[in-house]
Subunit: 683 residues, 2 copies
Amino acid sequence: MKKIILLIVFTGMLSKWSYTQSSLSSKYDLMPWPKEIKENSAKFIINSDITISTNTENSKRVRNAAISFLRRLSNRTGVFLKEGFPLKNKKGSIHIAFDSISDLNIKTDESYTLKIEDSIIEISAKTDIGAIRGLQTLLQLTKHNASEYFFPGVTITDTPRFVWRGLMIDASRHFQPVNVIKRNLDAMASVKMNVFHWHLTDDQGFRIESKVYPKLQELASDGLYYTQEQIKDVVDYANHLGIRVIPEIDVPGHASAILTAYPELGSKTGYNYTIERYSGIFDPTLNPTKDITYEFLENLFKEVTRLFPDEYFHIGGDENEGKHWNENQDIQTFKQKHKLKTNHDLQTYFNIKLEKILNALGKKLMGWDEIMTPDMPTTAVIHSWRGKNEGLPDGGSLITAAKKGYQTVLSNGYYIDRMLSVEHHYTVDPIGDIQLTNKERSRILGGEATMWSELVTPQTIDSRIWPRTAAISERFWSAKTVNDIENMKKRLRTVSFNLEELGLTHIKNRAVILRGMTNNQDIASLITLANICEPLKVYQRNKGGIEYKTYSPFNLFADACVVDAKDALEFNHAVSSYVEGSNHEDQIISYLRLWSKNHDRFSQLQKNPKITPLNTLSENISEGSNRLLKAIQSKHISKENIAAIKNLITILNSPVADVEVAIINALNKLVTFCQTHFYKNNN
Amino acid sequence: MKKIILLIVFTGMLSKWSYTQSSLSSKYDLMPWPKEIKENSAKFIINSDITISTNTENSKRVRNAAISFLRRLSNRTGVFLKEGFPLKNKKGSIHIAFDSISDLNIKTDESYTLKIEDSIIEISAKTDIGAIRGLQTLLQLTKHNASEYFFPGVTITDTPRFVWRGLMIDASRHFQPVNVIKRNLDAMASVKMNVFHWHLTDDQGFRIESKVYPKLQELASDGLYYTQEQIKDVVDYANHLGIRVIPEIDVPGHASAILTAYPELGSKTGYNYTIERYSGIFDPTLNPTKDITYEFLENLFKEVTRLFPDEYFHIGGDENEGKHWNENQDIQTFKQKHKLKTNHDLQTYFNIKLEKILNALGKKLMGWDEIMTPDMPTTAVIHSWRGKNEGLPDGGSLITAAKKGYQTVLSNGYYIDRMLSVEHHYTVDPIGDIQLTNKERSRILGGEATMWSELVTPQTIDSRIWPRTAAISERFWSAKTVNDIENMKKRLRTVSFNLEELGLTHIKNRAVILRGMTNNQDIASLITLANICEPLKVYQRNKGGIEYKTYSPFNLFADACVVDAKDALEFNHAVSSYVEGSNHEDQIISYLRLWSKNHDRFSQLQKNPKITPLNTLSENISEGSNRLLKAIQSKHISKENIAAIKNLITILNSPVADVEVAIINALNKLVTFCQTHFYKNNN
């Protein structure tokens, strides 16, 4: 009986909540969606008199955030503000109050309330971090009509679902300069992410200046590394945005760069260690049986941990296949002597030693889920990257880790370098329907989107991270029930556009690449193609890791294309509706007409070796579109035409120039529909 | 007699040379145009086997330049290179040889020869700086056909006309982060500029971290300053590109920021010194009669000169009107005591003291031309910024300085913040037709484009510097006789486009601004307008310096517009030809049709306060174009139509939203033409 009442109450709350989201989230493009939002009838007009104040001037975070807020607001609205800085000793029309300054750690309270009335806006929070989260929400609420910009009257109470909402950037495979990192930190802060995981070392380069082991940057970075000053600057910058920075030094595998500088630490004597130019998993591995290895790591960690105040420290630990261990007789002898049966046992031996080093430095060891071996202490933090696709049970290593007593963070499902749709990532919930005890639940810290950089450069990385990562941030911040995909996509369009304010290049660099491809000719026909093509997914591009080297060109057509290709999304949606009887014919015809005429325009381009590979693709899309267009317009299709269209679709279904055409399914649906409805046997 | 023969020989050489430029410069988009270029029949195909080598591995400049060359070549052509780095101990298909490594100073030899044959390219130079200049030329020679990229067979012998080819960036009025500076250094190097003059202090902010006087950055920078590490990094980066860096600390005027931090150095006691938010010339001035002023400057210069290895050091010295000096009785008494009649005399007293401090630090004092007073030693370097417009005789302060015995550098005529056409700057020759002795000539070191930043932000600064500065660089590098404006404009289009490779934002940020203005609507109608509008010129924008504050929005329509508006240039050219009887009617009709239809598209935009001010402009352009279009197409115009068009032109001739319409003269010509040719009195 009690249970039934509870169920009714719960369902009632849920549906009421869902109703609120669906009605308000069609009005406000907030992301991540807040915990609670209530409307009132107020309207706060944005004019030159706006001022901002804080209850105390002792948080540089809030001061910086307030200044940045004023700049962005002024730029967004064109309003010339009289006061460009927070008021001193006076209350502004926007007032921020908070109780304490946060140390910025995993326990930081990020909650806030935001109340907008006609002439006053109040943001209040327990900590300065909560306050700056509230400011981001306020900025997202900017609305306008023809004559003015304003903030709508709402009261928001907000707090995150998970404490760890991260983005990992791999700066090893392709180095990413400080300004790339900073603009991505700004973007993260704008969607309330709070962990930047910096993958700083790998086979392709060691990216930290070491004063103790300078050969690391001298011999193993191609001159592309962060100085210690730059690292401090980035950490400080992130701190002011309320973002913790976790460094990763990936060991004992992924060690080609380290061993290029210090081959004596390697597991294979006489091996010619060099900076890796290809992608993949490689054999060079630190030797876990030598004292000098631990001496090296202890000194290095001592140096590096001084740059990163956060308690967590990532040691990688992934994808070590132990080939060089097997090939080294001394290591085999060592294993026998220490009763280490497998290479996994040997790696656990290594990891436990590292954990002691890190603990002595006041740090918690974090590693990819391979470190979760039976003997690994539960003081380690498990970064779950493997799941169902890697043959693990439902919940993957994340749930296993939480149940075993480890703190854990999820990245399985958030590998944005796999070039999967935003919908795919958004529907991955860290916990899903799995039942956990409170204790187990508390060990699931959150998740991280991972931007591995084998195929991205500073020019393209933003378009691979954004806007999809904003939707992932919502998954980490907002309630599990915030899951309406179409609504998310609508809000994401605004969020994506607003990221340009911060200098993100995910939109503007497409045209740069296409201008480059055409030697500065009219790029309209290539934009039309790019709007229905997507880069190959799940590592089909660069098969075997040997098609591209780190210094190969990454400004090709595939690099101008993005996941969730704009026109493809709309067309696919229209076709699905159309074949189910809904009236989307006009939209379909309009797209087919655009594509049928596109090859004429493409043909006018003076050709060069970068454009030529697209010629057949362009031609086939135009021909297929033209044939379908005629069939739909005339409500008539011939047998020959059906065959011809199907043949074209088959050809289009093969990747060209590292892209796939993202309207194949819709074209198939359309030709089937035409065949069913417009084909008369007697023709 | 001898004279006549010489004249004939000279004329013959000149016309031959001119012929060579005109024929080859229509084929090759080199900028700056080299001293000598000869074609041969070779063709060097760019394929994956290309390698690069150097005669010695001891120049990091050449190594970096070679790697950068390979990356850009690969990106530009899409060719996947097998070797991404210079070969060691093997000769590559591109071979670079040089004799010595330059100290990088004013005497550095920058000459080089470049020889392209079928399968080998040789660059040879006296110094490594010459070698990297040659590599830039080679990259500019990249050509292609439908199936391949190649370098055409040429032999180039090249050397600059002036040793000082600079760009000044003002980082005080609007702070410009390190990445903005670095990408502009890359751009400078690509057109062989060799001096970066960094204007680091002014009323609006002190931008250098001082460890001796930390209040400078703490109280006088709004947190926007370069750390000493960042400055060293920039200087090092520039050095590798063969660019000297000259710092400027502007004293005794332009001192609001310094005096905000250290008011005790000011000339007016009790004055409330604050960071200046407006633009203009302000009163705060260092007190030249106090010992602490010189103590401060000596310590500061000691600290700053350690960051800048170059021999030259800029002390500003401009625009001190001495108002606070006049208002200070102690200063007046000091003047009398030291027999200093005028404030100029007092400033000379100050400058001479500074010169001694700088000389002791091994530096040459450089200052704006106000420092050239009768008593100023000729060891100072005069930076000429005033000329005819400022009431000076022909040749301005530059020629006067050279004749008086000063080394001198010209910026008069190269103030790119005045928003004048590229043609205007290109036709300013530092020496012109003035006769100088060899000695006088040798004192004219060269020139500098000056990017004052009152009205530019990191988002817009590139579009204010480029591409015009590339043409100015040609003026400084190439022969005076390289002066064909249409040909320069043709080459400049390619140079401008290629600057995008380096991350320059002058092209791509226009769309960002317009997307922001429209809240992410279709920006086509605004692009059409922007292509015929230019930002107000010669400081008409921000009249009196009080319309905009430093924190006002600079992402308005005017900021999306650029000098030399693309469509305006073409249209104006077509109209000039048309009214003189040449057949450009189709082109004119095509533009008029575009503009006549544009307001329909503009009208579809959902309005907001940023777009609304453009409504009348858009409407009038469409209406005027439509009326002219009909007249030209029908070869008929009525009296009423003439009056209506003239009225519209009058309205369009008034600035709107800080832009001017750049086709006014052409429209006037057209309506006059129509009146003359198509108006029949009896209608």
